[in-house]
Amino acid sequence: MITTLIEKPSRSIWQRWRWLLWVVVIGALYDWTISGLKFTGLQESAGVVSRSIMAGLVHPQWSYVYDGSGEDLVSLILQTLAIAFLGTIVSAVISVPFAFWAARGDHERFFVRSGSGKVVLTLIRTFPEIVLAIMFIKAVGPGSYAGVLAVSIHSIGMLGKLFSEAIENMNRGPEEAIVSAGGRSGQVFGLATLPTIMPEFFSYTLYRFEIAVRSASILGMVGAGGIGTPMIFAIQTRNWPKVGIILLGIVIMVLLIDSLSEQLRKRLI
């Protein structure tokens, strides 16, 4: 019978008490967080308002759904979808060159090209979409056109990043096959690179469309078209039945688009 015991690995003091450091750090962080926020100044009417919101949600203003004026829920939801669709398509096209710019190459030295591309994409991604919308409103006037421009520019940041990662991780086999058969670089790109990468590009574009639908529905809050404009007016005038029906419309729209896009994406990959 073997009676030797396996020695328990000894841990240094640092390893044993490291968790305590984390507790102190996180505790201090939360202490700072909570002390900095002022929870005073809560409206006394909060209860009343939330009750009337609930009442509005339960009894939505059905007459707003469709009245043929072009300012009703259905037309504005369609307009929101149009903003998201157009913006996404435009940004998907613009994103392709950005993606090849930011994709890390195999023979690249110090990653100057791809690094600069990544920085530009990060800058675009971090620029708030709302501010972009306001800037475009200054250029083309309030309306859904400004919304389209804002969505198409802002989406480049994320689509370009996803596309460039797809390019970095793509299968190089087809490209090598065309090169070894004596293909020129244009042929390599058209016959190997694009067909290999396209399904992933489409899939990411669909995914971005889902996000664009959400942002198109709030861009109207600053005047860039879509369902957001009547929404913010209804909230400001405390017209809760109207808020209720608009919320309902947005929820149904987003659910439909999400499930549709999910089905399509499953088929693509």
Partner: protein, 264 residues
């Protein structure tokens, strides 16, 4: 010797019916949506001067404004941390309820998931607009907005993590007669804790970005100043705010990326 047959393509494949149909549909949708949104490419270029002018005014940031916005920036981070924490804490029970390997009651699971799907449909600024109406202008509305927004997102990420765990240790505990709570504490939690923290940090990154614009509708933080500067057409201040936000987002992203790499 049989000659291998050349694979035949059907009529639909030969004439690329599907590809052409999809392209046609996309074109029709494109034209329809550009009509609907009143896109006018010419107008954009004729008014490009104004847009450029705006950019030029933004390219001279008023650096002395930085001192003013330090406090609201910190408030924004505080809002994001608190909102994410509340949202993630609320998300844990819902994530457990909607994980298919822990809850076998299909009806209960479906109901929870439907609820989470509904919560996730609401965009952050829309929630902010409603909560500003409820709680009044201030950071409380922002914290509640971020809590609900991150609740929807985190709960989905969490239950997907739970569904990928190794069931062996659960079976081992079940076979010695452990209670449900014991199983979760000793078999589920150790497997998922790191991923939970990682997703928490990821959500925090997103919330820091989101919280910078929430104030535009009055929900506290740097957004309030963003709106003020835009309303006063003081674009040199807007530029400072955007640059400072960018810096904060990059720092938070860096910290969180580092922590996540250490964790996983």
């Amino acid at each position: 010797m049989s000659i291998p047959e050349v694979p035949r393509r059907s009529w639909i494949q030969r004439w690329h019916v599907k590809g052409i149909a999809v392209t046609g549909l996309l074109l029709v949708l494109l034209v329809a949506s550009s009509r609907m949104t009143g896109v006018d490419v010419g107008m954009f270029f004729s008014n490009f001067g104004q847009f450029l002018n705006l950019l030029v005014r933004m390219s001279h940031p008023a650096w002395e404004y930085t001192n003013v916005i330090v406090q609201p920036l910190l408030e924004t981070i505080q809002m994001a941390i608190l909102g994410t924490t509340i949202g993630a804490a609320l998300a844990v029970p819902f994530a457990i309820l909607s994980a298919s390997n822990l809850i076998h009651n299909r009806f209960l699971r479906g109901l929870t998931r439907l609820f989470l799907d509904l919560v996730r449909t609401l965009p952050d600024l829309l929630l902010a607009a409603i909560f500003v109406a409820v709680f009044g202008i201030g950071s409380t509305a922002g914290v509640v907005t971020l809590a609900i927004f991150s609740f929807g997102m985190v709960s989905k990420l969490f239950y997907e993590v739970i569904e990928t765990i190794d069931m062996g240790s659960l079976e081992a505990l079940t076979s010695v007669g452990a209670s449900k709570v014991t199983i979760i504490w000793y078999a589920v939690l150790p497997q998922i804790l790191n991923q939970f923290v990682s997703y928490f940090l990821y959500t925090l990154e997103i919330n820091v970005r989101a919280s910078t614009v929430l104030g535009y509708l009055g929900a506290g933080g740097i957004g309030v100043f963003l709106q003020r500067s835009l309303n006063e057409f003081n674009y040199s201040q807007t530029a400072v705010i955007i640059l400072a936000t960018l810096a904060v987002v990059l720092v938070i992203d860096g910290i969180s990326n580092h922590l996540r790499r250490v964790l996983l």
